[in-house]
Amino acid sequence: MSGRLPGSLNAFIAEPVPATITGNRAQHLPMSAPVAAAPNGSIRGAIALEGISRVFGGGVIAVDQINLTIQPGEFFTLLGPSGCGKTTLLRMIAGFETPDAGRILISGREMQNVPAHLRAVNTVFQSYALFPHLSVAENIEFGLRMRRIARPERKLRVDRIMALLQIDAFARRNPAQLSGGQRQRVALARALVNEPDVVLLDEPLSALDAKLRAELQVELMRMQKRLGMTFVFVTHDQHEALVMSDRIAVMERGRLLQVGPVLDVYEQPRSVFVAEFLGQSNIWKFATHAGNVAQTPIGNLVVGAPIGTQRTAMIRPEKIWLYPEAEAPGDRPNLFPGTVREAIYQGASTHYHVELADGAMILALDTNNQAAERSWGPGEKLVLELKPGNIMLIDG
């Protein structure tokens, strides 16, 4: 297996940082040591969840037998609506919750019964949870001090991480004197400075305004790539998940519905829930089909692949082609004339709610990449093309 990833913090910081962890903690905190293959042949930063369950009082199953493997250096996102169990799962990796069943392996070591303070994992909390009585620098230094790392090295590492995150200007300030975005950076620095195997992020951007949020999404992503640490990111914001992640896991009611690279999960959702949660979609169930023609409520729909056991057809709004009535290509399948009922202009694109001849509604999205005259107002007629290759088939 590969050793430390080239972009790690040590590589970024020119001089090597000596390992100064003493006592038996070193067994659980192999952080400063150059990474070696962990006992089970697994490597640093890898997470394996094996049959993890957590049941809360009253019999509420928060997490239901989850199996999941996260690769070292991966930006992995747990995506799901509130109450789906994603935060509980994250808290079990952090050590704030103990699973009722299953094993948690971090860097190849079994960790489900190891208390939080002995795990080589650091969390960026949703509320930031910065110590209000400590300055920015002292907050960042906290973890190093608790691990009894010598003062000169502490200072060195704190200064470096502050420079990296561009927060050195307010090192002496108190968290109360910082803006939301600055606090978020301090919280991130406080986790990263420890060079943990895994960084856990619990909706860290949810309290920020849209613009700052977009900036920090990109910055967080770049930071992660640069340091090569494993990031496990929890969010309910599908857009955020799409922007930042290498892979995502969509969760619902304590279960993983689909795990995979962002593109796969978005383009090939395996369930109606995933299709609807991740982006917008038009979904039709059908009972009968002939070859690759599904008999859906809006009519016969030619799909790109032979139909197996699937009984649901789905198409994303942006994959629908729109034509003025006169320009519609007459010789192709899946052409649906309709009337615009609502046009929602969104700057870069416009959403059209189109009513078909039989009264069914379709959501279509048109990028506003052409002159303004190629747009439709309510009541105007157009033709939609649902290209067979753009239609996905979903089980159930």
Binding site: A116, H117, T123, F125, F131, P132, H133, S135, F142, N194
Partner: protein
Amino acid sequence: MDELSDAAGVPMSAITNAPQSGTAERAERLARAWRLWITAGPGLFWIVLFLVLPSMILLAIGFFSIGNYGNPHLPLTLTPIREVAGYSILGWSPANITTILRSLLQAVSAAGLTILLAYPVVFFIIAQPPALRPLLLLFVILPSWTNQVVRTYAWMELLGPGSALSHLAQTLGLLPPHLGLMPGLLAMQIGLTYNYLPYMVVPLYAAAEKLDWSLVEAGRDLYASGARLFWSAVFPQTLPGLLSGIILVAIPAFGDYVVPTLLGGGKSMMIGALIAAQFLQTPNWPYGAALTIFMLIFTCAGLLVFRVMSKRLGSSEGSML
């Protein structure tokens, strides 16, 4: 000339307008003053009548000579002030300084003991379901609703020469036979700690109840556990409550009269009892007044120190760690 007067015409009209706006402003100012007096007046009247005036009278009495019945009498003199400092016709005596130091020590150690007792109590209550907490807190406060004299008398029974506790101390050889745990410094300390415990528990509880537990998780996440977790993530959050508790306990304990009188006995005079004696036993009003003023100044100085401390706490850069 015409041009000049023309040029002056615009500001002239502005000037003629000025007195009108002036009267409006004056009326506004009057109304504001009226509102101020109406709202703040009663409170101010109260403070003047019951705080400022008596304090002034007290201050004045401190500069009088003693009459035949211990009452204040002319001419004005500095004798009572000198007496507070320990000077009398017999020369300087350390008795007053000893009394003040003893009172201070008793107050400080009472505050310390209530802190040690209050933390476990408060965190026990916090650990209970929210519905149960007010009831448990009530149990802590309940005794303070009975008269302090009654409660202190109960301790006299418990600690007196014939009591089981005194017998136990005697059998263990901690106490000579036929003596009680009361009167004495220990009894006084027990009495003070017991009496003022609720005043430590309540502000600490208030601080602990709104504890930000995510900071505790952050501490655990950052490798803190046990005592270090408490000191770094829990204790700083309870500091405002702790400071209020110390003020609420130490200041009244410093001047307490009932406990030293009932449990302290003659050998362990406290400043509260000393002042009371100047009015009740061997009357000497000017001396009593001078002692009271000294105590007031001393207390205010203590409060000031705490105020500075808690202010620094508010904008600290981690001095607590």
